[in-house]
Subunit: 187 residues, 4 copies
């Protein structure tokens, strides 16, 4: 089973990059699971423009995004929260990806996690990110993990300071993998 | 496989009662599927009140609601739209049901459909109804069916006037049953 | 200027009752402001039922709710969060109130606050409560106040343990009253 | 009173460009109102990147967007719907604009309209676009106008085929201008 994992942030020091790295470790420790740990910079693309699409097609970063989703059985995304919702950059990537037929997200299981320095742990972003993904057919796992006070959550090596966070993430990923496996079983 | 089906409306002449009746017909025509077609009046209950809960427990209509969900492998709900969102009555039933442990919706697949007399087909209700259900662990199927101009959609016998609506509903229910079956396969 | 204030909870020991009591104090200390501090039990009503409405009209608690909104220039509501969203009981009250013409919420300024024992401070409820109110024409003030860890927020007399919460509430209410006054000026 | 008007679409043939042009006509016909009718291409900018911001500041298109909002008393935006929500391109522009202090949207009245070729008239986009704007302090007008079947709504000169749409837009803009005026009166 192949999992595509990425943090929806271009910023190198992003808390979401640290959070997804922890998730990748947990996925890799699970039997039968391989992980494509993508850097969001590989998916850098301009903002959506219907005229650009007509003249030049999907931009290179968007094509790469689509290919990597198609090659995966399931996804895990760590998303920041910007202004109480989904980051424009993640919605823009979804918008470009939705321009091919079949839409690569259609029928894909997705686990959403998110980190923020505040007390709310990106919870509003997590809920707003579900919507466009479900609108194009993704199976977004009901449980999500919003990590609050993310600036204090990781040590110098990027590990969780608080062992409970690791335990919570492991438990969530185990139940998610069970869900993904069931879906695969019927395919 | 047992499906609990109901329209989230007490009103006898509700379009959503007609819509769910059509869905029930389609489910019943599917091999291996039995349907518990509930009347929402069976689930009549007062508005949630923590003091009432402490003194008298879950009210009778709420207990019945919980029992019927527990007995089902999956659900289909037809919901009206009130004031751009989930009806208070449906949210209230979810709130009462969430007071038992384990929450009966946890892990249940749910198909949402909805009918409204206007042009928008209850679409805002459908999206707002996903949220509390997913928050308590339900697998709400990504695709939904919002039926617009519902006052013109059914003939005197309650059948769809427009054959396309029947075909659309059949196709949706087939793909939903495939999803439910896959989930069951892994359980 | 007359403000209708209530907590959308029937439970006597509700944190939202304590929170609204603090808000009422602040409003009452503002020059030219009188407050109608309602107990939500005055608005107790059955769940919405179109047939009941047709046979008996709006129930007594709903009529009282409508009268009190009509008599107010603006509102402040403290709402709990149930299952990641608006309580069914509050949505149900809005649904009944929307059945008269003109809808009493239309054009009314509303300040939303909310308390929860968890870390998220009812933030998902606050955002979901905006939607039906705005759908029926209310001017919901952009800034809201979600009080987290509400079980530790009040002392025995119901005052805030943390002086910052009081300062935050006073600042919010001052800016809200400025907004309400501007609206009134043009009416 | 100065209104900034734009369609949140780069595409030249966009229905939202036609829709905003109709709104601009109505605003211009109102006494005391001047309109800054912007082309969204003036606000073209890369996707948000915290590292780019740190090294080079807000990009040129973003700076222009901020300046134009600051210079306006109020806004009207016509937004498409992409994948059941706010276009990534509009959210991205909001995200960049939120990086200056004070945030230019704070306290600004905004009227949202939107057009789509389908039957739902961009309604899900309109509701999702409110959220980040309100989260950063904008007064988004409660009533919105979602134009469905937009591909059939305009004639060759860009006028509404259906006179009711014009009347509806005029009525909405008159009540919005009243709201903006009241806000201004108290400032």
């Amino acid at each position: 089973m192949k999992i595509l994992a990425f943090a929806a942030s271009l910023r190198k020091g992003s808390f979401n990059r640290k959070f997804i790295a922890q998730a990748v470790e947990v996925f890799r420790a699970s039997p039968g699971v391989s992980v494509d740990h993508a850097d969001y910079r590989e998916f850098e693309m301009p903002i959506y423009d219907g005229d650009l699409e007509e003249s030049s097609g999907i931009p290179k970063g968007g094509q790469e995004f689509i290919r990597r989703i198609q090659a995966a059985d399931a996804l895990v995304i760590s998303t920041p929260e910007y202004n109480g919702g989904i980051p424009g950059t993640l919605k823009n990537a979804i918008d470009w990806a939705s321009r091919v037929d079949p839409i690569p997200f259609d029928g894909k299981p997705i686990l959403l996690i998110g980190a923020s320095p505040g007390g709310l742990g990106a919870v509003r972003s997590l809920w707003h990110t579900r919507v466009p993904l479900e609108a194009i057919g993704a199976f977004v796992y009901p449980e999500m993990f919003g990590l609050s006070r993310a600036h204090q959550a990781f040590d110098d090596k990027g590990n969780f300071v608080d062992a409970e966070n690791r335990a919570h993430l492991e438990e969530l990923i185990q139940s998610y993998l069970k869900f993904v496996g069931e879906r695969g079983a019927g395919a």
